[in-house]
C-alpha cells in the first residue's frame, strides 16, 4: 500500500516561477522517508500541495489510495502536518490547541481528551497543558506542533523541518519521539537541512532540486554509491604545502591541517603507510562532512552542471 503517490505534479506561481516541473514520488506505508533539497528546490511547494495549502497547477496526488481532488476529505483525514513555522494560536493553551485540532477532524470530545493526554504525554508536555502557548520555549512549541499533528491519529505524518532552530539535546529527544511514532505504524515524511538527521532516521529518500526529483532510492544503496570519504588530519608538525600521496588527493588547509580524499578501494591503511614513509605524524583525524551531505552536494552539483531540464 502506498502512503503517498504523486504523478507529474507541476506548480507555477502567479509570478511565473515554476516551483515543480512534473515530479513523480512514491512513499510506502510505514516508511520513514526523507525529502531533501536545497532552499527553493520545491520541497515546501510539494508539501503544501499534499496538505492542501497550495493549489497544484496540474498532476495528481493520492494519499493511501484517496485522490486529493476527488476524495479530498478522506485524503485529508490521513494527514498530519508539522509545518516549518509556528502556526498555532499563541493565545490558546496547549491543551485547547490539541482539542480544537481534534475537533476539526471530527473527533468526539471524550476521545479527543484521551488522545490529547496521550499525545502531550508522548511529547513530554502534559505538565504544560494549561500553559498559554506563547509562554513556551522554542523547543516546546515545536513539540506542541508534533503533538497537534498526531492528535487525530494520522496515518501519514509530514514533518517539514521539525527540528529547525532547536538545540542538539532537544533535537535528539525529538528524533527518539519520531522513531517511536514510526514504529507504532505511522508513515513519516521528513524534510530537514540536518542531513545526519535524515541519514540516521530515514529508510528511503528523495532529493528534489530546481523542481525535479534528482534522486529517489533507499538510503543504504544511495550511501553505498559514495566511494570517496573526506578526512581532516591534524598534524604534529607544520607543513608548507600538501604532500604528494599516490592514489589520494591531499589539500593543504593550514600549517597543521590537511584534508585528504580517500577512495574506498584504497583505505586508510594505505594512506597512513604513505604518510609514515614521508615522516608525517598525524595526531587525530575526523570525517569532513557527513556522508549524506557529500552525496547530496554531488547530486545537486551534477544536476546544476548538466543544466536543469
Amino acid at each position: 500500500m502506498k502512503a503517498l503517490s504523486i504523478r507529474n505534479l507541476k506548480k507555477t506561481y502567479g509570478n511565473g516561477f515554476q516551483a515543480l516541473k512534473g515530479i513523480d514520488l512514491d512513499v510506502e506505508a510505514g516508511d520513514f522517508f526523507a525529502l531533501l533539497g536545497p532552499n527553493g528546490a520545491g520541497k515546501s511547494t510539494a508539501i503544501g500541495i499534499i496538505s492542501s495549502l497550495v493549489n497544484a497547477s496540474s498532476g495528481s496526488v493520492s494519499i493511501f489510495g484517496h485522490d486529493l481532488e476527488k476524495e479530498r476529505p478522506q485524503a485529508k483525514s490521513c494527514i498530519g502536518l508539522v509545518p516549518q513555522e509556528i502556526n498555532f494560536n499563541q493565545f490558546d493553551t496547549v491543551q485547547s490547541i490539541l482539542l480544537n485540532q481534534a475537533g476539526y477532524y471530527g473527533t468526539p470530545r471524550k476521545l479527543a481528551l484521551q488522545r490529547t493526554e496521550q499525545c502531550l504525554k508522548q511529547m513530554d508536555l502534559w505538565d504544560k497543558r494549561d500553559t498559554v502557548s506563547r509562554r513556551l520555549s522554542g523547543g516546546m512549541k515545536r513539540r506542541v506542533m508534533i503533538a497537534r499533528a498526531m492528535v487525530h491519529a494520522p496515518k501519514l505524518l509530514i514533518l517539514d523541518e521539525p527540528t529547525a532552530g532547536v538545540d542538539i539535546e532537544i533535537r535528539r529527544s525529538m528524533w527518539k519521539m519520531m522513531e517511536e511514532v514510526n514504529q507504532q505504524g505511522t508513515t513519516i515524511i521528513l524534510t530537514t537541512h540536518y542531513l545526519e538527521e535524515a541519514e540516521s532516521l530515514c529508510r528511503n529518500i528523495a532529493i528534489i532540486d530546481q523542481g525535479h526529483i534528482v534522486e529517489h532510492s533507499d538510503m543504504k544503496s544511495l550511501l553505498a554509491r559514495l566511494n570517496v570519504d573526506h578526512f581532516v588530519l591534524d598534524l604534529a608538525e607544520p607543513m608548507a604545502a600538501a604532500p604528494v600521496l599516490a592514489g589520494f588527493k591531499a589539500e593543504w588547509v593550514s600549517e597543521k591541517v590537511l584534508e585528504v580524499a580517500v577512495p574506498k578501494e584504497s583505505g586508510l591503511n594505505e594512506l597512513f603507510r604513505q604518510l609514515s614513509e614521508q615522516q608525517i605524524q598525524v595526531l587525530s583525524l575526523k570525517n569532513k562532512t557527513n556522508r549524506l551531505e557529500q552525496l547530496f552536494m554531488d547530486l545537486v552539483d551534477a544536476k546544476n552542471a548538466g543544466g536543469a531540464a
Partner: protein, 254 residues
C-alpha cells in the same frame, strides 16, 4: 465526514474568544449606548418631541440596538478571521477535512452570537431609559438575526481580502460607521429634504433599521416586506461570494 463536531469546535472557540476578552467586546458598547441614551434620548429627546407619533427616546432605541448588532457582528468576524490568517493558524482548518461551508458557518455564527449578545446588553440598558414595548417579536428577532448574519458575512469577506490590519479598519471606519449614522437611527428619513431622502434610500442599513424599529413600535418609513427581501437577497449574495473566495483560496492559499 462528521461536520457537526468541526462546526461546534469553531463556534465554541469563537464564543470563548469574545467572552474571554469581554472588557474589549461587551463593555464598550454598554458604555457608548448609555451615553447615547443619556445625551440624545434624555437631554435632547425631551426637546425634540414626537417622531412619527413616537417619543424620541422610543424612536431611537431600536436603531441604537441594531447599530451595536451591526458593528459587533462585523468586527467579531473580521478581527477573528484576520487574526487567524495573520497567525497562520487558518492552516489548521485548511489542512483538516473541514468543508468550506462549515468554516464560513462557524465564523459567521460566532459573529451572530456576539452581535445578538451585544444587542441584548444594549436592549437591557435601554430599558433603564425607555418603556420598551414590542409590536412584533417575530419581526424584531428575525431582523436582528438577519442583520447580524449579513454583517458577519461582510466581515468575513473583508477579512479574507485583507492583507494588513489597516485593511480591516478601513471598511468599519469609512463605510460602516457613516452608513449606520445615516441609516435613520436618530431621525426619520421623511424629515430629510428631497435629494437627501432619495440618496438615503440607497443605504441598506436604512431598510434594516426601519424593519427592526417596526418590530418595536410599529412605525416604519419603508415597507417591511421590502426590507426583509433586500436583507435576505444581500445575505445570499455575500454567502455565495464568501464560498467562492474560500474555494479559490483567495488570501489564504497560494
Amino acid at each position: 465526514m462528521n461536520t457537526w463536531i468541526p462546526f461546534r469546535t469553531i463556534v465554541v472557540k469563537e464564543i470563548y474568544r469574545f467572552v474571554r476578552i469581554w472588557p474589549q467586546t461587551l463593555l464598550p458598547p454598554a458604555i457608548t449606548t448609555t451615553l447615547y441614551f443619556l445625551i440624545f434620548g434624555k437631554l435632547m429627546g425631551d426637546r425634540i418631541g414626537l417622531i412619527n407619533g413616537a417619543p424620541y427616546m422610543d424612536y431611537i432605541v431600536p436603531g441604537v440596538i441594531l447599530m451595536s448588532v451591526i458593528s459587533h457582528a462585523y468586527s467579531n468576524v473580521v478581527s477573528s478571521f484576520y487574526s487567524t490568517k495573520f497567525q497562520r493558524n487558518i492552516e489548521e482548518l485548511i489542512v483538516a477535512p473541514v468543508p468550506n461551508w462549515v468554516i464560513l458557518l462557524g465564523y459567521v455564527s460566532g459573529g451572530i452570537m456576539r452581535g445578538l449578545l451585544v444587542g441584548t446588553v444594549v436592549g437591557l440598558i435601554a430599558m433603564l431609559f425607555a418603556d420598551i414595548t414590542i409590536h412584533s417579536i417575530v419581526i424584531t428577532l428575525a431582523m436582528a438575526f438577519m442583520t447580524a448574519t449579513l454583517f458577519a458575512l461582510a466581515g468575513f469577506i473583508n477579512a479574507v481580502m485583507a492583507e494588513s490590519f489597516d485593511d480591516i479598519s478601513i471598511i468599519p471606519n469609512f463605510v460602516l460607521t457613516p452608513l449606520s449614522y445615516l441609516g435613520g437611527v436618530f431621525y426619520s428619513v421623511s424629515m430629510l429634504p428631497g435629494i437627501w431622502k432619495t440618496i438615503s434610500m440607497g443605504n441598506p442599513i436604512l431598510y434594516m433599521v426601519n424593519a427592526f424599529r417596526y418590530g418595536f413600535i410599529g412605525v416604519s418609513d419603508i415597507d417591511v416586506r421590502l426590507s426583509f427581501l433586500m436583507t435576505g437577497g444581500v445575505i445570499l449574495v455575500l454567502a455565495l461570494t464568501s464560498l467562492i473566495l474560500l474555494r479559490k483560496g483567495t488570501g489564504i492559499k497560494q
